[in-house]
């Protein structure tokens, strides 16, 4: 791939984000390639060394806030004529609920992801509390009640406590997965808004 091809692919991949951001990243990558050729690499090697266009695009998109991308998408490329403004005002009852629905869906997905995480830890906390409760209960049963019942309660308490620890470790792994999903969701969303299909 030549430098020109890389830059063109980058521009194409970033289409839909504000033009200043495109220009800046193009300047950055073209400087990087030039510096490497100056360092003794061939053009082909220099382009290879700066990594894939897809990585570049994804990392740039991750940093740009979603509202900025949406704003760029809906911003008209020219001035609006009078009748267009009238249409926009008259169409308010139509487009506003649609826009609100769009953001509600995004919010719903985010809340859903986070509530899974919260509920997982709630389960863990309840196991722990139940375990501690059982152990305390067993002490009281030992003193005031029957020995066998106290033993059963003690065993139950220890099992619950152990489960709490095991689940805690498991939930940590699951949470990490969900955080990744959260990031991925926004990346896919941004890519689909600028019209680049799903992320590879």
């Amino acid at each position: 791939m030549t430098k020109l091809e890389f830059i063109e692919a980058l521009k194409k991949g970033l289409q839909g984000i504000p033009q200043v951001d495109i220009d800046r990243s193009v300047e950055f990558y073209s400087e990087m390639i030039d510096d490497r050729t100056e360092d003794g690499l061939s053009e082909e090697e220099a382009v290879k060394a700066v990594g894939s266009v897809d990585d570049a695009v994804n990392n740039i998109l991750k940093e740009i806030p979603l509202p900025k991308i949406v704003k760029e998408k809906v911003r008209p490329k020219r001035g609006l004529s009078a009748w267009e403004i009238v249409l926009i005002i008259l169409g308010f009852p139509l487009w506003f609920p649609l826009l609100a629905a769009f953001f509600s869906v995004i919010l719903a997905v985010v809340v859903a992801l986070w509530s899974v995480i919260v509920s997982l830890y709630a389960v863990d906390l309840s196991l722990l509390l139940a375990g501690v409760g059982c152990i305390f209960g067993s002490v009281i049963t030992f003193i005031f009640g029957s020995m066998p019942l106290g033993l059963v309660m003690l065993a139950a308490g220890l099992i619950l406590g152990g489960l709490a620890v095991l689940f805690f470790l498991l939930f940590n792994v699951i949470t990490k997965g969900f955080l990744w999903l959260h990031k991925q969701f926004f990346l896919v969303l941004k890519r689909s808004i600028i019209g680049k299909g799903s992320a590879k």
Binding site: R24, F28, M32, D34, R36, V50, G51, N58
Partner: protein
């Protein structure tokens, strides 16, 4: 290494690379690479982020007939490095404690 941790470390590494004198993209990569893995696609967002946060400023200068961007650290960037060093002093104390426990158990 944990991704979140690596991200924070990279920010400070980039600031450290421009601490003594203004530097440019390719040089920053060459300076940081021996310590943390960094590529163009990760460096670019970091530079943007640090610029937005006011930790560095960008200026353009001519080099060999083309333009090159130079990054200069700001006082707030220097502060960020200092804060990092303070934070890690604490972490190093903890590390010493942990490592000591390990070497003791190795002896037995």
């Amino acid at each position: 290494m944990d991704i979140q941790m690596k991200r924070g470390l990279l920010d400070v590494c980039v600031l450290a690379a421009i601490k003594d004198e203004p530097s440019y993209g390719y040089k920053i990569i060459k300076d940081v690479k021996p310590f943390v893995e960094v590529s163009e696609s990760t460096l670019y967002p970091i530079l943007r982020r640090l610029e937005t946060a006011g930790h560095l400023t960008v200026s353009t200068a001519e080099h060999n007939g083309r333009l090159r961007k130079y990054y200069t650290i700001t006082p707030s960037g220097v502060k960020r490095i200092e804060a990092f060093k303070d934070e890690w002093k604490e972490i190093m104390q903890i590390y010493k404690f942990v490592a000591r426990e390990e070497s003791r158990s190795d002896e037995t």
